[in-house]
């Protein structure tokens, strides 16, 4: 079988109405509405025990001793395991050769490197007792504190304490770069400036925390895990425990969100499987929010030291950027190292910048490991790029819209290769921006009029033009997996269809979308389609749901499997119709000879022949009506070429965001008055679901732009957060109503022209809010250089900008 896969619906299908592009209502809604959805915390097994993990209260320390006896003496406690007990479990694998090996154990053995690091597990009759016992273990653990590093400056200081004794420094990734053409551009430009931009630490925080339920029967393990990648969880558990992979079934039950944070393979996935095997009975661990804040991967913690070369007329000739990511302790699989490369690769967003040089660094500190979160480095980069553009506009007296018009990608530049090797096959970059400018222009005037009589309030507008890499390679993230995914479609004797998918669902409406795709591909109705995913025994191997990849990989793999089914079904139908196969077409679920409506053969008749009345099959035909498509996205590359370039995403959606803010000068209070999104993800499968993805993405982008911040004590590297009281998760009052419009520029490369969506909404707000605040406070000379843009940050910026000129 070649890798050539169909990119469009089989032409023998004649649809009366297409199921693609329709806002088909979600089939996922009824159970949660009625309180009947089954999330991980709703699953119980007879004889089940509950587990609590014991976590380090120290940011950096040696574990001197652990006395588990007091905990074991507590009524209801069955066992306490420490890292030493799990000696037969491998360290987490090291597969990315260009980074320092971390090789953390599933439970810390002799050293802890962040507050929250798990170092023991308690098994008890219920969670209350397990937590009592965990507290006792912690109380009887002796730590020897080590010097801490709480931020990049501390980690990179001369003679800084090192997290890993055998490393020369605290660099997990150290990739300087030098491009002669950039050096030359700096020499030739009229002006240069240098600046530093900062994205703060925040993360996805799905409303459902994580959890694992593991059971074993006769050497066959079943592991329910709240994960975005059940197959990868299975492969990793097998590799680390030595349990043969077919003897592990991983099930991702209904999930309460993930946003990237549940793509990682966490220690609990492995430890819980091991405990189930050790005790021979089911065990469950449910993460609480405190644990989730401390140990679910963090993200976005990046600093960008930029040099910019520009001319008097506002032309930006070159950007040099040192992108430095604080990845916390680095003790997570897969490592949090890929994000900063995505930041670098996508830094120019939807703009054509002649020269760029990005240096990539990941630095370890005594904080929670960082990893995947919706946007995956792109929001950080877009913030930098738009800040640069706004600053050049200001320095040269160029209109911020005009300067963007000059730089934005044009249709006749497609396909366009970015500096990092990303190849944008198509898009509506310029058109989307013009539409966003038009939309926001109207509300800008209204908002200005509203505050015209209030001298304390200023109004401003901000813009961003981003690209959204979708369906990325997993090889640069994991050093192991690549980018393909699969679908198995079976037509049952009653003519209905079961689709098994390697991707999974975490609340995005994937089942509904997949049913639309399968119906379209087989000439059926979505109601005829049942979708199965998130279960390694019932669905084919796949990499799961992340990187806005499901739309492309489902489209590709479903089309492949459907095409194979149709080829076989047509042969069967032709035999039953006593016609030539090439004359047979498929209309509204029935096979018939082209040009004649009767007689017809239904999918049910074909499937009954294939499975049941196999005597009706053409002589010599193999029975059965089930096919699998293993899809590798075209254009996707997994390794850089000699110059370091790689098209690490199969497709590139695009969008323009614009927002109007009001700023109250006396208090720094900031309000988003209007927000518009012009979005282009190619062919839309279900516009309602896509709008939902944009809304939710923008809300999370606003969370990062204005509210959420994981702060740490700089002396001790201890977290200054323990709950949602300190971590400002936006409510309905903080997220403004927004207007979303779409262009549909189909990908010429990807199946059905689909590009994928999910992360775009998250990319824009930090850049937009910062730009709008700068615009509002332009006459004060305020320049926002860091997120979150809080009232106190605005007051500080006003004080700095007006220092010497008398504070307002």
């Amino acid at each position: 079988m070649t890798l050539d896969s169909p990119t469009r619906i089989n032409p023998m299908i004649r649809h009366r109405a297409s199921h693609i592009g329709r806002a088909v209502p979600r089939r996922e809604d009824r159970s949660p509405l009625m309180g009947r959805q089954r999330y991980i915390a709703d699953l119980k097994l007879p004889g089940m025990l509950e587990v609590a993990f014991v976590r380090s209260p120290e940011a950096h320390a040696r574990i001197v001793s652990i006395d588990t006896a007091p905990a074991l003496a507590l009524p209801g406690v069955h066992a306490v395991f420490t890292g030493a007990d799990l000696a037969d479990v491998d360290l987490f694998p090291h597969k990315i050769l260009y980074i320092q090996p971390v090789r953390q154990p599933v439970l810390a053995l002799d050293q802890v490197r962040y507050v929250g690091s798990p170092y023991a597990a308690v098994v008890a009759t219920d969670r209350y007792v397990a937590e009592d016992a965990a507290t006792l273990v912690a109380a009887y653990t002796e730590f020897e504190p080590l010097p801490t590093v709480a931020d990049l400056d501390q980690a990179l200081a001369e003679n800084a304490p090192r997290l890993y004794d055998d490393w020369p420094d605290n660099y997990l990734v150290n990739f300087p770069a030098e491009k002669p053409e950039v050096t030359q551009a700096f020499e030739e430009a009229d002006h240069t400036f240098s600046d530093t931009y900062v994205s703060q630490r925040q993360t996805g925080l799905p409303l459902e925390c994580r959890g694992v339920l593991a059971d074993v029967h006769d050497g066959y393990f079943t592991v329910w895990s709240s994960t975005q990648s059940p197959h990868i969880v299975r492969t990793t558990i097998a590799e680390m425990t030595g349990i043969p992979e077919p003897r592990i079934r991983v099930i991702a039950p209904a999930m309460g969100g993930g946003f990237g944070t549940k793509t990682h393979i966490y220690p609990e996935d492995v430890v819980m499987t091991w405990i189930a095997g050790k005790l021979g009975r089911p065990v469950r661990w449910l993460e609480d929010r405190f644990e989730n804040l401390l140990t679910g991967v963090h993200a976005r913690d990046q600093r960008h030291e930029v040099d910019v070369a520009y001319d008097d007329d506002g032309t930006i000739r070159a950007v040099r950027c040192k992108a430095i990511c604080d990845v916390g302790s680095g003790e997570i699989f897969m490592p949090g190292t890929a994000t900063v490369f995505v930041t670098g690769g996508c830094l120019t967003g939807g703009y054509d910048l002649p020269n760029m040089e990005v240096h990539h660094f990941c630095v370890v500190t005594n904080k929670t490991p960082s990893g995947a979160y919706r946007g995956f480095g792109v929001p950080e980069g877009m913030f930098v790029m738009e800040r640069i553009i706004d600053r050049v506009a200001r320095l040269t007296g160029t209109d911020p819209v005009e300067i963007r018009r000059r730089m934005i990608l044009q249709e006749d530049q497609m396909p366009y290769e970015m500096h990092g090797g990303g190849r944008i096959d198509s898009g509506s970059h310029a058109k989307a921006f013009e539409r966003a400018v038009e939309m926001i222009g109207e509300s800008l005037e209204l908002v200005r009029a509203r505050y015209a009589d209030d001298p304390d309030v200023r109004v401003g507008v901000g813009y961003t033009n981003y690209v959204e890499p979708t369906t990325p390679t997993y090889h640069l993230t994991t050093g192991f997996w690549a980018g393909g995914d699969s679908a198995t479609i079976r037509v049952d004797p009653d003519g209905s269809v079961r689709v098994g998918l390697g991707t999974t669902a975490l609340g995005q409406g994937t089942e509904t979308t997949a049913a639309q795709l399968a119906a379209e591909s087989l000439g059926l109705h979505p109601d005829d389609v049942t979708v199965v995913m998130g279960d390694t025994d019932r669905a084919p191997y796949g990499l799961g749901a992340w990187g806005s990849r499901s739309a492309i990989v489902m489209s590709g793999s479903i089309l492949m499997a459907a095409d194979r089914l149709i080829t076989k079904a047509r042969d069967i139908a032709a035999h039953l119709l006593e016609a030539a196969a090439e004359d047979v077409v498929l209309s509204d679920g029935n096979f018939h000879v082209s040009g004649s409506d009767a007689p017809t053969v239904s999918w049910s008749q074909v499937a009954t022949s294939a499975w049941v009345r196999t005597l009706d099959l053409p002589r010599g035909m193999e029975p059965g009506l089930e096919m699998t498509g293993y899809f590798e996205p075209p254009e996707l590359e997994h390794l850089p070429d000699m110059s370091g370039k790689v098209n690490a995403a199969a497709s590139w959606s695009n969008g323009a965001h614009a927002g109007v803010v009001s700023v109250r000068i006396s208090t720094g209070e900031i309000k988003i008055e209007d927000y518009v999104v012009v979005h282009d993800c190619g062919t839309m499968i279900n516009p309602m679901i896509i709008d939902g993805q944009v809304h939710g993405g923008v809300a999370q982008g606003i969370a990062g732009a204005m509210y959420e911040h994981f702060q740490y004590d700089t002396e001790t590297a201890r977290p200054l957060f323990a709950s949602f009281m300190e971590y400002l998760y936006p409510t309905c009052s903080e997220v403004p109503a927004m207007t979303v419009e779409h262009f549909e520029t189909p990908s010429p490369e990807q199946p059905l022209g689909v590009k994928g969506c999910g992360e775009g909404g998250t990319i824009g707000p930090a850049a937009v809010v910062a730009g709008a605040v700068d615009d509002a406070l332009a006459d004060l000379g305020v320049e926002i250089k860091a997120t979150p843009v809080t009232p106190s940050a605005i007051r500080e910026a006003i004080r700095e900008a007006t220092a010497g000129g008398g504070e307002r």
């Binding site: 949660p32 509405l33 309180g35 409303l207 998760y729």
Partner: protein, 163 residues
Amino acid sequence: MMDTSPGSREVDVAATINGMQVTHRVPARLLLSDFIRDVVGLTGTHVGCEHGYCGACTVIVDGDAIRSCSTLAVQADGSTIRTVEDLATDGDLTPMQQAFHENHAMQCGFCTAGFLMTLESVDPDDYREPEQVVDLLSGNLCRCTGYQNIVNAVCSVWEVERS
């Protein structure tokens, strides 16, 4: 020797949940959310933060919406409790549930029960302006939807005009 461990003291909790009379002897420290979910077995009420902030665990006790994760089961002794399972009758969704579906006001669905119970606990006549609806909903967190479609769903059922 008397068992003085923290979970040793037990109390009887009798309550009416969704019209059903239940009595259970439970640890005095048991949270109401765990009582409803684990003891009674109604898992439609979700626990999102366990510190009374996110609202996913919202249930109605004697007419008031409360956070079941920061209430002890024993505090609900003698009370009448309603949970999300009590909303639909014989499988027919309420107008609000139907509006959540039609407006795509839910994605992962984890927060949905909390929103529905908050909404169920109030008199719509007290919420005639969109800002009032937004204020009401601000006690419940949602990470997926960006809230816009939730506000739309509520406004459509309560006939509140959005500006």
